[in-house]
Amino acid sequence: MTDGNAVGDRLESAARGAEADDRSSQSVGRSGRIWVRQASGFTYRTLRDVSRSWTVLAMAIGFPPAMYLLVTATRELDSVTKGLLAGGIAVLGAMIASLIVFGSQLAVDLETDRFAAYRSMAVHPSADFAGRAAAGSVIAALALCFGLGVGILDGAPVGVGGVLPVAVSAVGFLILSVVCMAVAVPIVVAANNEQYAQFTLSLVAVFGFMLTGYNGMLMEVAILDGSITKLLPNVLATRAMTAQLVTTEGVAGSGFVPGGRLVPLLAYGVCATVFGVFLTRWQLYDEGGNR
């Protein structure tokens, strides 16, 4: 082989390699676009569905503020406690919304065996989880804001002091939302019925709230031991948020530890995302095909 031929071969080989890389990157790009469209499909459908479901909206957005107003109307609470209660109950609303908005349609899809159609369309399980989770987070954010808004109107010392508090609160909220939705997957699979799933998921949120002393806001009413409670994601997230959003100076003196502990919370977020996608793939897509 001459040098000229060798150079030619190398150039051809390099060109083929570049073409292959190009095709590969095009393929990745196309796959990414498909993933985004599939995820947006699940978000779109879930939001459309929930927007007409008055029971879900009432349970997620209406029930927690009503509970807050009932407590504040029947008890004399100091300013700090009122602020913490508003934060804790607003997060309860976000938890209920995350669980039942995500879980309801998942349960309907399971009941009607719609996953057979999704599998035949090669839907990405991660797009499915992400799309439903995005919709759940939107409604959960509404529930959180509505709960806090009711607290503010009632005179609770809640407010936003800058960009950082909002960012920290948003991170805490999103992580808790994803944790709730990852927890919802096995519950929905076990329930395999929309009504059972909604009931069970609401109970999970309310029990989580009560057992941990209003999401760690009023530890004296917590049923679980404080050493365990402070490590739970709903408590970590709620504390991260209220430490930023409760504006009264008496928070630290009340015995409430405002340490947000974002690092363990971030660890929960990563684990919940991996766990949620894994469960969606395994329970709903892979294992579901064997049923």
Binding site: R30, I34, Y44, A116, S120, A122, G289
Partner: protein, 292 residues
């Protein structure tokens, strides 16, 4: 002969200990409409779901365009019976959902909703649709997907006769465009559209062939009035008569001379229809195993 788009070999499916079907071999080629015919409860829908990648078969192998089913988006369009649409959404919202989900979804849905006559109801919730309208919406979604293979599970169930003919026309159009179509049905009239019929019973696939092959594999038919039924009962296989429109029909026993029937009053021997083929393979003992 064109390349097979779908190749299934030795496919079986069990749910736990319960065997639904086993050892099914099936191919569907480009430009071919295959009708999977059989009575209710024989596993046609489960087989369709396995072929489309919706369920994982317990045994055997399936390839769609040389790859595992559902290994890439747009390989197959699968009409899943009564399960595609969320009834709390409108028809338009359901279409929008699948449009996002499937990258091979086309704008064909706009003309299909007019063809199927549901365009004026697209903004109503699916919960308010009749069974036939739900099926038309599911068909709109399935036929709007551009795929080399269409697997349609009971597409004519709940449709009126006009719509069945319209659907047959749509499937002919797909065939003319070189698409492969496999449809399951328990309605003999769907055999009209078939290039090949695969007949499935509780015993699995009992016969397969062109419509001509299938009808010629079935004995001639004796037909008489309802009042005269007893007179021909011993002339037909298993002494089993099936009701038609004001008549009864049975498959002529091989030991009976057709001329003897012609001599009887109010009785005649005739060629089998698809309904007779269906009755022969679905209901007569030993018929399936004889022709396998």
């Amino acid at each position: 002969m064109s390349e097979p788009v779908l190749v299934a070999e030795g496919v079986g499916k069990s749910f736990g200990e319960e065997r639904v079907f086993g050892e099914v071999d099936l191919t569907v080629e480009s430009g071919e409409v295959v009708v999977l015919l059989g009575p209710n409860g024989t596993g046609k829908s489960v087989l369709a779901s396995c072929l489309a990648g919706g369920l994982t078969p317990s045994d055997g192998t399936i390839q769609v365009s040389g790859r595992a089913p559902a290994s890439k988006p747009g390989a197959t369009s699968f009409l899943l019976q009564d399960a595609l649409c969320l009834d709390r959404l409108t028809g338009r919202e359901n279409i929008a959902f699948y449009r996002r989900l499937n990258p091979s979804f086309t704008d064909r849905w706009r003309s299909l909703v007019e063809t199927f006559g549901i365009d004026s109801r697209l903004d109503d919730k699916v919960a308010q649709y009749s069974g036939g309208m739900c099926r038309k919406l599911e068909l709109t979604i399935s036929l709007s997907i551009e795929a080399p293979l269409y697997i349609l599970d009971e597409p004519t169930a709940a449709l009126d006769l006009t719509m069945v003919s319209e659907l047959h026309h749509q499937l002919s159009t797909l065939r003319d465009r070189g698409k492969a179509v496999l449809m399951t049905t328990h309605l003999p009239m769907d055999a009209d559209i078939a290039d090949r019929i695969v007949f499935m019973t509780d015993s699995g696939v009992v016969t397969t062939g062109t419509p001509g092959d299938i009808t010629s594999s079935v004995p001639q038919v004796v037909e008489t009035t309802l009042q005269n039924a007893e007179a021909i009962a011993d002339k037909v296989i298993d002494e089993r008569l099936f009701r038609g429109e004001g008549v009864v029909r049975g498959l002529l026993d091989l030991g009976t001379d057709p001329a003897a029937i012609d001599e009887m009053a109010d009785a005649r021997v005739t060629d089998p229809s698809y309904a007779d083929v269906f009755n022969y393979y679905a209901h007569l003992e030993g018929a399936g195993s004889d022709s396998r």
